[in-house]
Symmetry: none
Subunit: 386 residues, 3 copies
């Protein structure tokens, strides 16, 4: 486990700074690095493709983005933290007053020292995210600022990664994680890394069922994968969405939409066996890609085991969700739970009797005491020999 | 509401004295007067028609009916109160002793000053109903009495009234009330009048569903209507039976045979929203025409909102169920409840997604924040701006 | 009841000593004697017949079986108690040391003075059962013993008894008891006798349904009967397995596999009406022939009323389950319960309306007051006559 822990630390360091988004090179680079752990096959779905009710937008690239004051000093710089630039910001290069700039500056609602995370995938606008401390110390109402967003939005594609592990049976499970968040460690670099490690280990196991491990931009990427694998997705036995698995919080799990589904029981057994106290969140329509997999067209029961879950920890969607918050040992504890859950899922076999009339003859298979009678239900079991 | 209240008072006065029964001119005249409120279409089902397990009997007419003492003084007179004559009495004109007359005289079991209400639709007999006070003060065991029932039973028809209000959808609801009781104000002149007022108001509304308002003699009239509209009745979404809506008692409702049917919930919501305390009667096989609509051949869930419900108020089926007992303001309170219930019933729409795969794209319909990320489940919702 | 009690005592005495087993003359003789009570039809299913997953073995006969010490004294003798010989023991005639003999001697695990009951239907071996007291006082480690099992295993047949009582309806119930235990009084001579008495009484009753009373060797006999009456068994409305009905213990019943099945409610009503406190055992897969009738190929809900139930009383499967333990009055108390249960089962009639639309016209069948109205739900019912 020491080695695994070091490996996790190594990949967290390399993957954290990449500028992941709905599309773009940051996503491809992430999947390339992940492929060192377990080989990921990449699929590209072109901009403009219609995905059910949705459409894949142009691909986004950023070269640089900053704000300078009138003295030429850089106040906010995308190259220092990619959270500083609102995701999918359109290009701008102009000098402007603070009054004009202010509506484009976003701060965190309650954390003074955190850069918030914002995107604008579908409305063409630009914006910078910064801490309240930065806003208050670096800017003045009378200032004049030079703003540069050297970005590009042009036809390209949305990238999805897949690891397919076939089983003896044609039936399959899905393990899904999302790759669209930039420098946020728990949400969801932790999920990406855990899913890759899980796929590598699971590839070495003898499997009853098939498994699809996928790395998708949330919502649209999940739907693009579904649309391009529709029959397989509709036939899934169940799904896992891996997210929020790197922080120090208590274990929790989100139930699938059918409370009585076997996956929920298996998660509970798993966490109980590991002596993990846990919170149970009933299914609701907010959350991650279980929103898509559970929709009426698919109806795949989907569960999530997390430690610090989206929405619920203060550092969520801010620059404080970083490599100080996430630690390898936390991620390992969730890895252990997911692995045990997969083991249970793979044993979910149902056998049907070929001869349904009466009891099978256990004795003929050496499964019954040779001497009958005695004082217990199974022949000799209560009998001792003097 | 003042005007509506006066209108109710007016129609109660005009309709109360009519000699309604299973068949006959009293029923037709009632429906003609009701047509001044909302145009009712009349249907005549001929005597002798087989209606499922039943048969429409001859039509009944009464010219006069009285008992005179030996001095020629009229002791009991149908023209003063049509309850004095047992419904469907066959003709008789004869002088007889008290001993012979007595078995034909019916009094109320516990109200000394009330004329009871009795009928004999299927057994050919005659009878007079009178108060215990009348019986004790006007008759003597030694008296000789002249008895006249100038009635006629001959082939004719059973009359049913209908108001059809189509909706956008082909699906329909039924609103049913019964017209077979003579001078009884709460049971069920109140129901007849409320139903007519409801139909008039409802005709002015934009409707999602179609509505059948029907005015039928109880049991046989309801079944005759069902038999002549069988496909439509079997396809109903639900039904209301309007009865006991003019007295001072507390609100109550009778549930449909499926406790979980949406109509029951809608009635409860209606009465709660109107701040009406109410009793809940579970479905049982006694009652009014829900007995027919709920029968295995139709299985239409049917509810009733009442104030003084049949069986439960002392004046029930007696001459004390009169225009002193029923008042316009009570009837209006029930009208208000039925109208609100209809409004709920008409909103009982179920929409089915045309694109069932994944979430609909709310942003494309202006239903989602333009800027994503942030710290709450719906994008920006937990974000404030400094 | 005095007479019935004496009759029970008589048959217990005659039937107790017979050497019943999976097959053989003891079973046939038992059924011949039982036929004095109610005529039983015997069916023979030949050795070697395949019965679903099972096979009917050779028939077993015993002439004599004993162990003598070197002085020629008989220490253990089958003729004194057939429990002394392990059921289906193969022949042996040899002198041997105690060391060689010991593995063939079986004692009870906790009752020192009881002979245990053992069988070896499918493994070819021989054995003697004796009390710990006998073992300790009669045998010595240095002794030399002459052993004789004069038995024979040869092709024959398995015997099943049936009493068919037809009913008005084609639908049937099953009453099943097992005949394969030798001198054990409660388990299950009591069941055999009760079943015969029940069949005799039930034959005198007017029956709505048909009844199959069967006397079968447990497990294989039950399955052989099922296989030879498969369509009828699959169509059964329910079944009773009669066992453990002769001892002093409290009443109990074992539920059928569907908790909500009407048989369970009927048993509870029966025992409550008889003011019998009782234990309820949920269905489980151990037990008697409900194991076969409840199996997926048949799925017949089966209940058992017992007093001292298999496994649960110390004397179970030992020589102490004898005629001191079982008494006619106990057996009679169970007989009373089973009889009442049959009465309830026979009233389990479901009528379907031929005319499902609306209410049936009760008046036309003389089932409704001739005069309607009045103040109660059924016409005149609240009306009195002065």
């Amino acid at each position: 486990m020491k080695k695994l822990s070091e490996e996790i630390a190594h990949y967290l360091q390399r993957l954290f700074p990449l500028n992941r988004s709905l599309t773009g090179e940051g996503n491809r680079e992430t999947l390339r690095i992940i492929s060192e752990i377990a080989p990921v096959r990449l699929f590209e779905y072109p901009s403009g493709s219609r995905i059910y009710d949705w459409m894949i937008p142009d691909e986004w690239h950023v070269r640089e983005a900053w704000i300078k004051d009138s003295s030429g000093r850089i106040l906010v710089d995308f190259l220092r933290n990619n959270l500083h630039l609102m995701g999918y910001s359109v290009p701008v290069r102009r000098t402007m007053s603070f009054a004009e700039l202010r509506p484009h500056l976003h701060v965190h609602p309650f954390l003074k020292d955190a850069i918030p995370y914002h995107t604008s995938y579908f409305k063409k606008q630009w914006g910078f995210c910064l801490s309240t401390e930065q806003l208050e110390s670096l800017f003045s109402p009378e200032g004049i600022y030079e703003v540069c967003v050297d970005s590009e939005l042009k036809p390209g594609s949305l990238t999805v990664g897949e690891i397919l592990l076939p089983g003896t049976s044609q039936k399959e499970y899905l393990v899904s994680t999302y790759i669209c968040h930039p420098s946020l460690a728990n949400d969801n670099l932790s999920g990406i890394l855990l899913t890759a490690l899980l796929a590598r280990e699971w590839a070495t196991r003898k499997r009853n069922f098939g498994y699809r491990f996928i790395f998708v931009p949330e919502t649209l990427g999940a739907l693009a994968y579904c649309a391009n694998n529709e029959a397989a997705v509709k036939d899934l036995m169940g799904a896992l969405v891996v997210t929020g698995v790197g922080g120090p919080g208590s274990f929790s799990y989100k139930q699938s939409f059918q409370k009585e589904h076997f996956l929920n029981g298996m998660v509970e057994d798993t966490l109980n066996e590991l002596h993990r106290a846990f919170l149970t969140y009933p299914f609701d329509i907010h959350g991650s890609d279980e929103r898509q997999y559970s929709s009426p067209g698919f109806r795949i029961n989907t569960v999530t085991i997390s430690r610090d879950r989206y929405y619920e920890y203060p550092e969520y969607h801010s620059s404080l969700d970083n490599l100080e918050f996430v630690r390898p040992e936390y991620l390992l504890s969730c890895y252990e739970a997911y692995l045990r859950l997969l083991e249970k899922m793979d044993q979910n076999l149902v056998f049907i009797r070929t001869e349904p009339h009466g009891e099978p003859r256990l004795g003929a298979r050496g499964l019954y005491p040779e001497t009958g009678g005695g004082s217990g239900p199974n022949g000799m079991e209560r009998v001792s020999w003097t």
